[in-house]
């Protein structure tokens, strides 16, 4: 079936199998591999995107369900002026090791700071609880969130 999606402000069309997830369509049909595919079961958060401004796992959204709604992926964060402040903070704080979890964490952090520009330690932990990182031990990631909140 053919579906039409609004991704990062662009109208895109794709031929999909009806059961395909939004994540699969983004990566394999629309050439947007920023959202990562690790678990396909909502456990790791590496596929986090915004659907009508809400943080969701793209692997758990049926692509056809996103029709008529706005999708923002990590590719949509950076502007003409360069990196999104959250992306810059992750790089500066050394919060990126292998980098696999980074796109999901960047989207999650950008979403957190948009609604809560000065989050407490507990609020940061709760907001990031759906994103797993196997490398950093999270300390530098929390540093990056605080750095981004201050910028």
């Amino acid at each position: 079936m053919r579906i039409e999606l609004d991704v990062n402000g662009e109208q895109l069309e794709a031929d999909v199998w009806a059961g395909e997830s939004l994540l699969y369509v983004l990566r394999e049909r629309l050439g947007l591999p920023g959202s990562k595919n690790a678990c396909e079961q909502g456990e790791c958060g590496s596929c986090s995107v915004l659907l009508d401004g809400e943080l969701v796992c793209a692997c758990l959204v049926l692509a056809a369900q996103a029709e008529g709604h706005e999708v923002v992926t990590v590719e949509g964060l950076a502007g003409a002026e360069g990196l999104h402040p959250v992306q810059a903070a992750f790089a500066r704080a050394g919060a990126v090791q292998c980098g696999f979890c980074t796109p999901g964490l960047v989207v999650t952090t950008a979403h957190l700071l948009e609604r809560n520009p000065d989050p407490s330690e507990d609020e940061i932990r709760e907001a990031l609880s759906g994103n797993l990182c196997r490398c950093t031990g999270y300390a530098k990631i929390f540093d990056a969130v605080k750095l981004a909140a201050g910028t």
């Binding site: 997830s21 959204v61 049926l62 759906g130 994103n131």
Partner: protein, 263 residues
Amino acid sequence: MEVVSPRTLEEALRLRAAEPGLMPIEGGTDVMVDLNFDRRRPVGLLNLNEVPELRGWSRDDGLLRIGASLTYAQVRQRPLADTLPALAEAARTVGSPQIQNRGTLGGNLGTASPAGDSLPPLLIERADVELASVRGVRTLALERFLLGPKRNALAADELIAGIRVRPSGARQTFMKVGPRNAMVIAVVSLALAVDREREELRAAYGSAGPVPGLVTASTGERETFPELVAAAAEPIDDLRGTAAYRRHALRVLVGRALERCWA
């Protein structure tokens, strides 16, 4: 396989009656896992995200009507969270923010897992499930809707339209035992209410029997209530814990919940 996205409840019910093989999908947090891992291949999917009648909640003379599409994130918001506090506490323990933004009460009822976290808090408030079909609407006590592990009383042509509940106003809480705070299926869970007005204690356990179960006693039975709840549960040994541990944990949780809600 096809996806149909009805725009009204009436249209959704007509599609459901015409093709019972279509699998309803709301937040997809259970359905998509099955699709991604090839565990299920329904003939098609009935996307309920565009049905306005399933959204939101309303209050009419003390009776709450909660749409099946209400997400855990919405359950956590006031003023609903003040009206059904144990349900809001349970919603906060579900998965992660991403899961809470998509997962719905209707989906939790549809899956009918013994570990479904919304079920114990709804049981202690004696909630009813509203089931709709082209034949009409019926309501069923949640206790009677839950039939067994992942089995419910939904007929092939029915959809879960919502939940009806008359909030008791009783002090209540929800507790969940698991290996960490985020992203855990309950090893055992408990919702408990101390209802002074009705002089009743109500407890409902999760992950400690084939279905979440409701246990009641009078407020005079406070001392023996932990034992009563532990004895009523029918836990099994599985990957997440043993039956003996679950019974023990339930006894401890009931004691703590009583302390929290007694004042």
